[in-house]
């Protein structure tokens, strides 16, 4: 059963300033039809889709790359989830020996490391890749080849990590890998080298992805889309990208230092030789706490995209949400010490970080209240994505209210490293990121695949996952209060923790079943779902004014944006029709899109976009050889990898003469950008 809500004419009374022009376009489906008809094949012929193996490794199409990110991250999520299932089976009853302590320690380390680094951020980057050009009204990301490069590195580093697990040599120092445990003396085997190198390798991918998001959002917005008309999701991912650029260097530094300690014999973290074991913790959490927001903010941005559509109202207090997002990004760099309250730091320092950790709650409160008032003032359409959003709000508030508890120094010292914190961060990260991702997947699935999902299936998938999630993670709060520390592979029966553990394991099976069911819903839709129109939900942002799935060039006509909700205002809709008559909106002379100014979205010039290229793939292959060479200490291989990388980069960056050099001519100002 599929529901395609009939979309009614937007109430455009507020937009009376544009009444002079005859109303050409009634809705976004119409906008797509009219613009495609009037432009014909003139644009599409410059945007061919690569086919076969060559097309597969050379593509720079942001939609294919975004889809790959989502599928690969989903695959890693499944594997890391299976790790967690093994952990839950081991903890089902007291004193079990289903798996050995070595295996258990690898399982929880890989579970945490993958969920944080190889699932959450890449999954959100996947959504970002898919949606940025569509939401911004342009034809690709700013650096399409860099984008492909980012994906290949992500895939290669994830394979290295899971390869180590398959070989029984996965990292086993916990996802935050505290020294001295992870130093050479206490972890001499290859396990922790995998951790350092895989994360350094992945860091490259995350960094280039972040740069790409920032430049795309600042330079490729549709004309008229001032920063104040940029969708909240885009804002969130831009803020997160800036955070990545500032947060990753401390992590990379720490990993280089640890790798040198382990492989070269330096003593950065060795107190016996003048090093400092606490330094690792500072560097790690200086990255680690911002990373929580790096994961959560884009997910909240997805919620801010879904709530208006199904409340039939624009998001309330948009400027406050944007300010809150930016504020979170900044304050999050001043809270890392709350992960270290038990380390024995000076009380004054702890009092400061306690205050900062309290303050960071306020921006989250703004976002909550904005969603709630938008829903209260609107008219709710209880679609499947909206159902997930309702579940998300309920789960995230539970994770949110336990957050400030960890900001209080002495209370943090009591509950940190217990199951209470495990419960807290699963409510924040599963409730606050995975549930929005699923909401987003249901919401944008028709755009991604051109198929609708079954409503009945979606409702069941929600209730199964939501119930499984709560049964798995809610009892962990109580278990933590009852004194169960985290990361223990077994526990004695007398402790009274057994019933909770059993319940959680049963919940985990329910949750796993929910995910299998969810997978089947998507599989069913992909094979047999009803065809999706361009705009199945009546959305407000530009991605709904493309075909489902979008053509390679996204927009036959680059729209002109007149408000925060372009598909709900007549002037922006009309721009799909009159733009078709203008060369500077159709841009049919080549593989082109439009570059606009950073603040006001004024058109600047045509931008020749890079075509498909296999260079990113081969650069990644060379870098992978370098990483493997360092990992196995086969230095000739590392040298070959380094040389190969240098050659590939030279080729990549070589200034070949081409049409790109001849495109400086300015585009005339459009007649009407209100």
């Amino acid at each position: 059963m599929t529901t395609v809500p009939t979309r009614q004419r937007p109430d455009t009374a507020a937009d009376s300033g544009h009444d002079r022009r005859p109303k050409l376009i009634t809705d976004s489906n119409e906008a797509v039809r009219v613009s495609e008809e009037r432009v014909g094949d003139r644009v599409a012929e410059h945007w061919p889709e690569g086919e076969g193996v060559r097309g597969f490794i050379s593509t720079v199409d942001h939609k294919r790359i975004g889809r790959r990110y989502i599928i690969t991250a989903g695959f890693f999520f499944t594997l890391a989830g299976l790790n967690a299932m093994l952990m839950r089976i081991q903890l089902m009853r007291p004193g079990q020996q289903v798996i050995s302590p070595e295996e258990y320690n690898q399982l929880f380390t890989v579970h945490g490391t993958v969920m944080i680094f190889f699932f959450s951020t890449p999954m959100l980057f996947g959504f970002g890749n898919l949606l940025f050009p569509l939401m911004l009204g342009t034809r690709d990301m700013a650096f399409p080849r860099l984008n492909a490069f980012g994906y290949w590195i992500f895939a290669a580093s994830g394979l290295i990590l899971f390869g180590s697990e398959a070989a029984g040599r996965a990292p086993d120092g916990g996802w935050f890998s505290y020294v001295p445990l992870t130093g050479k003396e206490f972890s001499p085997a290859i396990n922790l080298d995998v951790y350092c190198l895989a994360l350094l390798f992945l860091g490259t991918s995350t960094t280039v992805g972040a740069i790409n998001f920032i430049v795309t959002a600042l330079k490729l917005r549709a004309p008229g889309m001032t920063l104040a008309r940029m969708p909240v999701f885009v804002w969130a991912l831009v803020v997160v990208s800036f955070m990545v650029l500032f947060a990753l260097p401390p992590l990379n530094t720490a990993n280089v230092m640890l790798l040198l300690d382990r492989q070269v014999g330096t003593h950065f973290f060795d107190p016996q030789h003048g090093g400092d074991a606490v330094l690792w913790q500072h560097l790690f959490w200086l990255f680690g706490h911002p990373d929580v927001y790096i994961i959560v903010l884009p997910a909240l941005g997805m919620v801010s995209a879904i709530v208006p559509t199904f409340s039939r109202r624009p998001i309330a207090a948009y400027p406050l949400i944007v300010v809150a997002t930016i504020a979170t990004g900044i304050i999050s760099f001043g809270v890392w010490v709350h992960h270290m309250f038990a380390v024995g730091l000076p009380p004054l320092s702890m009092a400061f970080f306690s205050a900062a950790s309290i303050v960071v709650v306020i921006p989250a409160g703004i976002q909550f209240m904005s969603w709630l008032i938008t829903m209260l003032r609107g008219r709710i359409v209880l679609s499947v994505p909206m159902l997930w959003v309702f579940g998300f709000i309920a789960a995230f508030v539970v994770g949110g209210v336990t957050g400030p508890m960890f900001a209080l120094v002495s209370f943090d010292q009591q509950v940190t490293d217990s199951y209470f914190v495990v419960a807290h961060f699963h409510y924040v990260l599963f409730g606050g990121a995975v549930l929005p991702m699923l909401a987003g997947l249901y919401y944008w699935w028709p755009k991604l695949t051109g198929r609708m999902t079954s409503r009945r299936g979606g409702v069941w998938s929600f209730w199964l996952v939501f119930a499984g999630f709560n049964v798995t993670f809610f009892p962990m709060h109580i278990q933590g209060l009852l004194g169960m520390p985290r990361r223990i592979y077994t526990f004695p029966a007398w402790t009274g923790w057994a019933p909770y553990n059993l319940l959680e394991t049963l919940g985990a099976f329910l949750l796993a079943f929910g995910f299998v069911f969810t997978g089947l819903v998507f599989l069913h839709s992909w094979r047999r779902g009803a065809p999706a129109p361009a705009d199945p939900w009546g959305g407000e942002t530009l991605e709904w004014a493309t075909t489902s799935p979008p053509q390679t060039h996204n927009f036959a006509v680059i729209p002109t944006v007149h408000s925060l909700h372009p598909l709900w205002d007549q002037a922006s809709l009309d721009s799909f029709a009159y733009g078709a008559e203008r060369d500077d909106r159709v841009l049919a002379d080549g593989h082109e899109t439009l570059m606009t100014s950073e603040l006001d979205g004024e058109p600047e010039r045509r931008l020749e976009m890079p075509e498909d290229s296999p260079v990113p793939f081969f650069t990644t292959a060379a870098l992978t050889a370098l990483v493997l060479g360092l990992l196995f200490r086969i230095y000739p291989l590392a040298a070959i990898g380094l040389l190969g990388t240098a050659i590939a980069l030279c080729y990549w960056l070589w200034p070949f003469q081409g049409p790109a050099m001849a495109l400086e001519e300015p585009v005339p100002e459009p007649e009407d950008v209100s």
């Binding site: 507020a14 302590p101 406050l320 709000i393 490293d417 019933p499 329910l510 205002d569």
Partner: protein
């Protein structure tokens, strides 16, 4: 008739609720059943925080339900609004609540800092995966059991011999980490006689799960007599004179490899790698909480502790059954348990 998906949630809630009831065992080292002023303060703070948290959840989920039950339909309106609601409910109210909470938190942090004076000082040294406990100036060294006088402030100096650990006795005091290259301090007070479960709370490698200990709070008299006994040589040394089995145990300890890692005062065993075994017979558990201390478990541990606590640093001891029996007889001689 197909079951409503909502039924799934109802069943799940029922399961959670019954689980909560089933789990209310009085034996857990629960932070909600404190036995010392430090933990008691945290219990008080918890109930304050819990009340606020529950209130916020009720308000948010309540507003959500009101929205859900409210107006439905398709009519789109591009009229923004509600900024004042966001400013009041999302900024002003949380700011007031959080400021109060922060004040309470600071006050509690101050209360848990260094007290004016302490009655006893104990050195606690973390090892992978056991706790060394030393009473400076008393000639007392033990492992995995910290005896303290009840109602007295006990100053613990925490350091680690290898990786980071964390000292946590949930019913007495919040955690303090043992950090490589540093000495940390914490102060515990037990206000009731009894034995309190403690456990390493910072992941420290393979056997992090089996790195527990006991804090045993005794009356001042009991504590002082315990200290005197512990300062003495191993009770087996005296018993060896009258019991040939125990005497044979002493000889095995001195001739086999025991002494390269363990100290047994009164014998030539003076190793410092493993726990001091002088009064091991007095302890309630072996292997840092891995198993109860009795003749059978101790024999099994010595013969092959790797089956009990895989990966611990003690290699299996290839003793003859007779020698093993004698060693256990020596170690358990005169135990007060």
């Amino acid at each position: 008739m197909r079951p409503s998906p909502r039924a799934v949630l109802i069943i799940a809630s029922a399961a959670v609720a019954s689980g909560l009831l089933a789990g209310c065992s009085g034996k857990s080292p629960s932070i909600l059943h404190p036995s010392g002023p430090g933990a008691a303060r945290m219990t008080g703070l918890w109930w304050l925080l819990f009340g606020i948290a529950a209130g916020v959840c009720v308000v948010v989920i309540g507003l959500e339900l009101i929205a859900l039950l409210g107006r439905r339909g398709e009519r789109t309106k591009i009229k923004s609004g509600g900024t004042w609601f966001v400013v009041i409910a999302g900024v002003a109210v949380p700011a007031i609540i959080l400021t109060i909470v922060y004040g309470v938190g600071l006050n509690d942090m101050k209360a848990l800092q260094q007290p004016a004076r302490s009655a006893v000082t104990v050195d606690v040294i973390g090892h992978q995966w056991w706790w060394e406990v030393r009473y400076p100036g008393q000639n007392v060294v033990t492992a995995n059991e910290i005896h303290v006088p009840v109602d007295k402030v006990v100053h613990l100096r925490l350091q680690t011999d290898d990786v980071n650990h964390s000292f946590w006795v949930p019913q007495l005091m919040p955690k303090t980490d043992l950090v490589a290259g540093r000495i940390n301090n914490t102060w515990i007070t037990a206000d009731r006689v009894g034995s309190y479960h403690g456990q390493c709370a910072e992941y420290c490698g393979l056997q992090h799960a089996n790195m527990a200990f006991q804090v045993v709070a005794q009356t001042q008299n009991q504590y002082e007599s315990w200290l005197r006994e512990q300062a003495d040589v191993a009770p087996g040394v005296a018993a060896a004179a009258s019991d040939p089995l125990i005497d044979r145990g002493r000889q095995v300890i001195e001739t086999a490899s025991c002494g390269s890692c363990h100290t047994v005062r009164g014998t030539s065993a003076d190793g410092t790698i493993g726990p001091d075994l002088t009064h091991v017979g007095d302890r309630t558990e072996i292997g840092a909480g891995a198993v109860e201390n009795n003749v059978g478990n101790l024999s099994g541990w010595i013969a092959d502790s790797q089956t009990v606590k895989p990966g611990n640093k003690m290699p299996p001891q290839p003793l003859s059954p007779e020698d093993l029996h004698a060693v256990v007889a020596f170690l358990e001689a005169g135990g007060h348990r």
